[in-house]
Subunit: 209 residues, 3 copies
């Protein structure tokens, strides 16, 4: 009972963090109020939606539990109100976003795991849950999705953390500690990448060889 | 019997209007003929497709009734032919598009309503049916979707009209008049917004506070 | 038994070809390594994924058979390695891509055909399988999808080839030769278009009449 409540609250925390980051990104593109709410919505719920559609989970999670919708829209609206008066706390948001990524990716992976899918698919579905909302946000704002570009250990952190979680469980660790270690890894990798500027190498194709 | 025929014809009218608007948008981007038909198709049928996928209605409506596909493609083709000889009637098209939005949004909402979903989800699904085709069109043409930007009471009109429809039914009105009033509201709001330049406020995020 | 193996290998060949073309397109946009793999993945598997979602085939083919994922990612990775040392063989790739289009479009159409759908839907689903991966690639790289623009008989080749396949089967030809003729038509049309610069006319909408 208590654990379920904690998991629910953590899940909602991930939704809030992603909705806020979506609203802030929208604010740089001069959208109208409705546009901001749409971007907050798709950033927060887009990844889980694609996961549910690909896994044919019916109905999609926020159709079954519309409080996800309410939370995402409210978070978007409060972000607009807040930033009329105050500067958004960029550093706190980066930390919160890393936490949201950890939370949402691992819980997305566990849904695929519960459906007894191949480990590769579990990693893909967890990463999808964590990052696809941001991809849709960037596509709607006509930018090359940030997760595809350089200077960004983001999806990579999710992949490594989920893989570690699966390895730990295969080795016999209980779900609780494996979940925790997976999440800490994702958040730690992401924050380390921000602090020390870690990035994957860029692939440049030139016509001269 | 007669009512069903009228509903069917109205539905097809919405498809035609959206296909025409898609083809015209494509004409400003110098696509080839096939590209124009693809854009007409996704503009006309994209919103209902996403609705059916999210609600897991199977098969998607135009797979079950391919006459939707024929109507959308024919409307796109006729638009190309027409505009080789004549100027598109911009004002008539704006009115027709407002009518299409009203029609398609309310009928999309009624599908979600029939599935006994939460009112918030009914509003989302109706609005999705009405506006997502245009969003996909804009994404394929690499523009920030018009419904997200300023100077545009469009999705907002759909939201207000569907909400009114739901309130009227809750209050005890029959489906017929509630549908009519919802549609009139959407079309009226949209046309009023065009005539008097109504728009939602824009959200601008600046770094100075 | 032997036929199935050949079909499986041909299918994988299509995946490889599309993954390579995705990775090369990504290389021109300076993505990081993960971004390249993502683009290779969606280019190779995006079309079939949309087909499966629209037809409500569950689970999506690469979730059921994760070797598709492995093959796509490996092909993307090998492309990156190869092009560090050598120039990509552009001409061979164009031929291979035409072959991939033929293969993937016809086999996608056959899936819709097996579900006894309307011929129009069979053509749409086959073409979707063949070209939508490239559309998603272009959307993620913020370019107007190449299949919508001029100078490109690509989707058109798929449409013609699938239609021919369906006509031949209606006329009484066995599946084997009809498949072969459909594929040869697609590949031939595409290669002829490249060699002789065939293209559909462009639709230009001007404000003067």
């Amino acid at each position: 009972m208590k654990t379920e409540l904690i998991l629910y609250l953590l899940d909602m925390l991930g939704v809030v963090v992603f909705a806020v980051s979506g609203a802030l990104a929208a604010g740089r593109k001069q959208l109208d109020l409705l546009g901001v709410l749409v971007i907050a919505f798709v950033t927060a719920l887009g990844g889980g939606t694609l996961r549910d559609v690909l896994l044919d989970r019916s109905p999609v999670f926020w159709i079954q539990q519309p409080d996800y919708v309410l939370v995402a829209l409210t978070a978007g609206l409060l972000t607009v109100l807040y930033t009329y008066f105050f500067k958004p706390p960029q550093r706190a948001l980066l930390v919160a976003d890393a936490g949201g990524l950890a939370l949402v990716s691992i819980s997305g992976a566990q849904i695929a795991e519960a459906a007894q899918l191949h480990p590769l698919v579990v990693i893909l579905m967890g990463t999808c849950t964590g990052v696809v909302g941001g991809v849709i946000r960037d596509v709607l704002l006509v930018e090359i999705p940030i997760i595809l570009r350089r200077s960004n250990i983001y999806a990579t952190a999710a992949i490594v953390g989920i893989a570690l979680y699966l390895v730990l469980k295969t080795v016999g660790l209980a779900t609780g500690p494996a979940t925790l270690l997976g999440m800490v890894t994702i958040m730690g990798l992401r924050l380390a990448a921000i602090i020390w500027g870690l990035a994957l190498p860029v692939y440049r194709l030139t016509d001269q060889k």
